[in-house]
Amino acid sequence: MITVDYRRGSLQPAILVYNPNNWNRDNFIRFGTLSLCMGNSARGVEAWTEHTTAFDRVRSIVEALDQARTAQYIADAAAVSETTANNHLKRLAEMNVIRTITGEDATRYEPDPLYARFRTLRGLITDHDHEELLELKGDLQAQIEDAKQQYGVGSPTALREQAAEADTAAETMDCIEAASDWELTRYHLSIVEDAIENYTEYAAIDRGTPA
């Protein structure tokens, strides 16, 4: 089915083509310069591909995965072909940015947790001296103490249990956000403590003067 329409807010007429059996705003197809007929999700992908390389997109998708995914999934998410995704995933695995999980049905990829942790650690060592890291540790500890006092519980796990018993969605979301922030702050604290404990050695390596 083909419809000519004027999209709300657009300055040009748009040709809308959709499959009535699978209708949603992103099924609009682009014709020539009439790109306003595309849904914002499709236009977002178009803008993304204009401002980034295929490698950038594959890397950005795979580095932020919250579970292991196949090359096909990553290719779709990164708006590249599966062949291109496979080539870039192979390079990223060789660089230890990601790790490979070989399964019975398919190979899956996920971020390498050690690489990710050391990248953050490296940023801290670059941007902070030992005294600043100690101050940062104090700030993070204070944030955790604030959460304990504000919610009256001793751990993020207890706060998530509180979320499960909340009466409204807003209260549930408030507890989930606070528990997530608390957990993330604990993670950040563990990296700062790592940086402080090994500061002398890491800073010497960074300066090119290892002991």
Partner: protein, 145 residues
């Protein structure tokens, strides 16, 4: 070290999602600066300064605040991209529990003292993709005002 066995640490996933979102925001022509809060490197929230004039849109400057929460594998990812500008305009694209519309994805916009809500389906829930989709939505909303 990370305290999670047998899989990806959701805390690290949240951190890496925000790091990736920051990288994508910096690439978008409408974004002038991105700051991490409460600490620039170890952040739980991002705030991006938005300059619509940089893409030829006549609208006031504003701030896009981003939060991203990864929980257990059995739970959905939750996130908020919330925008407000110098004129008091206030809206957001969120994915989390609420009592106003079906599902988690929604668009909300402030009218007087309250918000109006409508369902919103994200094309992808991978952080990088969400950034570019939301910024397209934001441009549409700005153009319609």
């Amino acid at each position: 070290m990370c305290g999670f066995d047998g899989g990806h640490d959701p805390r690290q996933a949240s951190h890496e999602a925000l790091r990736g979102i920051r990288e994508q925001l910096r690439r978008h022509p409408m974004i002038t600066t991105v700051d991490g809060l409460p600490h620039d490197t170890l952040h739980t929230e991002l705030r991006a300064n938005v300059d619509p004039s940089s893409i030829g849109v006549d609208a006031p400057r504003g701030t896009l605040t981003v939060r991203w929460f990864v929980s257990a594998p059995t739970e959905p990812v939750r996130f908020t991209f919330h925008y407000s500008d110098e004129s008091g305009f206030d809206c957001g694209w969120h994915h989390h529990e609420q009592d106003h519309v079906a599902g988690l994805g929604h668009y909300q916009q402030r009218t007087a003292e309250t918000y109006t809500y409508e369902e919103f389906t994200f094309g992808s829930k991978e952080p990088s993709r969400v950034v570019w989709e939301v910024l397209e939505e934001l441009q549409t909303v700005m153009a319609e005002r």
